[in-house]
């Protein structure tokens, strides 16, 4: 158990030291990464990119029927 905690502590320390001693470019790209991920996963995904089929239909069967309809409807 102690060894496990010690391993986690070492890993934590590794990342902590790495982040706290980052150069200016490291800090800047991390800021960009965080802003970008917020924009992509919160703004874009939630407000602009809902899953079309998932939003319209609840079950897999309904989705299948819809697509089948789309693939055959101009006949």
């Amino acid at each position: 158990m102690n060894r496990l905690i010690s391993s986690f502590a070492r890993i934590f320390r590794f990342y902590y030291d790495g982040f706290s001693s980052m150069s200016w470019w490291g800090r800047r790209v991390w800021a960009i990464i965080i802003i970008k991920l917020i924009i992509i996963f919160i703004v874009l995904k939630i407000f602009f990119f809902p899953d079309f089929l998932h939003r319209k239909y609840k079950t897999e069967e309904q989705k299948s029927k819809y697509v089948l309809e789309q693939l055959t409807k101009s006949l």
Binding site: F14, Y15, D17, G18, F19, S23, W25, G26, R28, V29, W30, I32, I33, K36, L37, I39, I40, L44, K45, F48, F49, P50, D51, F52, L53, H54, E60, K63, S64, K65, V67, L68, E69, Q70, L71, T72, K73, S74, L75
Partner: protein, 518 residues
């Protein structure tokens, strides 16, 4: 083509996907190639113990890190677009496309959260050998990550290893290995990663040349040019070899695309490869599509036949053969493919009706036919043709295919020449004297990006009208959403990606001006 499709919606959806993919591809190839260059440099450092090599490694690793970080997750937007803008397509292929993309996601996550951290935070904290191993794992992992994306894309060019299930309206994977070792996938993967190696080599060569022009960091520049020159030369030769391999698979899997990128209308034996050419539109038409002719061309006799099958006497079908058919060569006319595709669609309609009327016996009978290999080979593989109104709709834009291919190839040969000259001047000890070459190398940094994007435009535009070759046209794949929302997100992406690019370039330029600090 597809009566219910709103063309402006299809066009905007395509434009949005193209914009996202093009921007995404500005970040990816440098990651693919620079990771290997850094790993090679670090290997030399570990082997020799020479601190200058460590300094060189850390400098290029910094530039790798900037590009890697800014490019992270830009590809995820493409996956959002599948679900929102291309829902029919996503559903139709979900089982096949999902597996490679999921593997890519898992691989990328573990790679990025562990070994990249060791690469950047691990200097002096882990052993030299473990650090080196991490650098190699990042390089191999990044390239393996690309493999799964390219496997998915190759399936769109050459759909194999699946069976269509009318019950779920989905193609289901029946042979993973056939999907993975799809000939197109093998060629595409090797061609794409080697082009990334080439791009990164030109990046290193160009920036090192900048230092030589500025008369600073001379040792770093010379050593970097040595590595990038050799790695770049080998990569560019690999690009040529894998390009040739891809052409052979293309001739089989996508013969119309192949004929289009050579603007070959009349099929022939001993077909020549156009080295340079200018196209002009003529009054002739295939259906409503104008035919192009050469206003000027320089041809290498017989070389196109050799490219397709290694035999100078081989027949290479032209666009006329592929659209109108050529019985003596066993080529079906598109009209026949439309008939077969329509037959499949009628069966699908019948299946739908049978299910609706609870005629389970008939529905099961039809479902069994969809699982039959012979039926698939003879009929289902032409399903997409049922959406075409006329045979000429199966022809991609010949001018786009021709010019993108030829520009890409010309640039490829220019890169070989540049790497050869870099090595030659370096070994003669005259590199700094040839300032014209240093300037040329610096200016050439952007050219592999152009070549790479041209390659993607060729691959995707050359496949038109299909989103999945012969199975589904783009117009049948698109979601019925408002064009306005697609335009809005198009503008959002253009702004977001441009900001990211400006951020990357400005941080990169600043870091290059600072130079290696360690």
């Amino acid at each position: 083509m597809f009566e219910n499709a709103d063309l402006s919606l299809v066009d905007w959806s395509r434009a949005q996907f193209a914009l996202t993919a093009i921007y995404h591809w500005l970040f990816v190839p440098l990651t693919l190639g620079l990771s290997f260059i850094v790993a090679i440099m670090e290997t030399i450092y570990v082997k020799t113990g020479n601190e200058e090599w460590k300094r060189i490694t850390r400098f290029w690793m910094t530039l790798f890190g900037i590009n890697f970080a800014i490019g992270v997750a830009t590809g995820i937007i493409l996956e959002f677009e599948f679900g929102t803008n291309w829902s029919n397509y996503s559903w139709f292929v979900g089982d096949i496309f999902g597996a490679p993309l999921a593997i890519e996601g898992i691989l990328a996550f573990f790679l990025e959260s562990t070994f990249v951290a060791v690469m950047f935070f691990g200097w002096n904290k882990v052993s030299k050998k473990f650090h080196l191993l991490s650098s190699w794992l990042v390089a191999v992992g990044a390239n393996l990550s690309a493999l799964w994306i390219l496997v998915a894309n190759a399936w769109m060019q050459n759909p194999v290893g699946m069976v269509f299930n009318p019950e779920t309206a989905r193609n289901e994977m029946v042979n993973f290995w056939e999907v993975l070792f799809n000939e197109v996938a093998v060629g595409k993967f090797l061609h794409t990663i080697s082009s990334g190696f080439l791009l990164a080599s030109m990046f290193v060569l160009g920036i090192s040349s900048y230092y030589l022009i500025k008369k600073r960091e001379i040792l770093l520049a010379r050593r970097s040019i040595l590595i990038s020159g050799i790695f770049g030369l080998l990569s560019s030769l690999l690009v040529v070899y894998t390009g040739d391999f891809s052409a052979k698979t293309l001739a089989k899997a996508q013969p119309v695309k192949f004929a289009a990128f050579e603007a070959l209308y009349e099929g022939k034996q001993k077909a020549g490869l156009v080295a340079v050419g200018i196209l002009k539109e003529t009054d002739k038409h295939i259906g409503n599509t104008a035919v192009n002719e050469f206003a000027f061309r320089i041809e290498i006799p017989g070389f196109l036949s050799v490219m397709t099958s290694g035999d100078r006497d081989a027949f290479v079908p032209g666009i006329y053969d592929l659209v109108n058919g050529n019985q003596s060569r066993g080529i079906l006319p598109v009209s026949e493919k439309i008939d077969r595709g329509t037959k499949v669609r009628n069966m699908l309609e019948e299946y739908k009706t049978a299910r609706k009327n609870n005629d389970n016996a008939r529905a099961e009978e039809l479902a069994t036919m969809f699982r039959d290999k012979k039926f698939n080979d003879e009929n289902f593989r032409f399903f997409g043709y049922s959406f075409l109104k006329s045979p000429d709709e199966a022809i991609p834009d010949v001018k786009v295919a021709f010019y993108t291919f030829h520009l890409m190839v010309m640039l490829g040969f220019l890169f070989i020449l540049e790497f050869l000259l870099a090595i030659f001047f370096l070994f003669r000890g005259t590199l700094e004297k040839h300032r014209w070459f240093l300037w040329a190398a610096l200016c050439s940094i952007l050219l592999p990006y152009v070549a790479g994007e041209l390659g993607w435009v060729l691959a995707e535009m050359g496949r038109q009208p299909w989103i999945i070759q012969d199975l589904m046209p783009v117009s049948a794949a698109v979601s019925q959403i408002s064009t306005g929302s697609v335009i809005t997100t198009f503008v959002l992406f253009a702004v977001l990606f441009t900001l990211l690019l400006v951020a990357e370039v400005s941080i990169m330029i600043r870091q290059i001006q600072i130079g290696p600090k360690h």
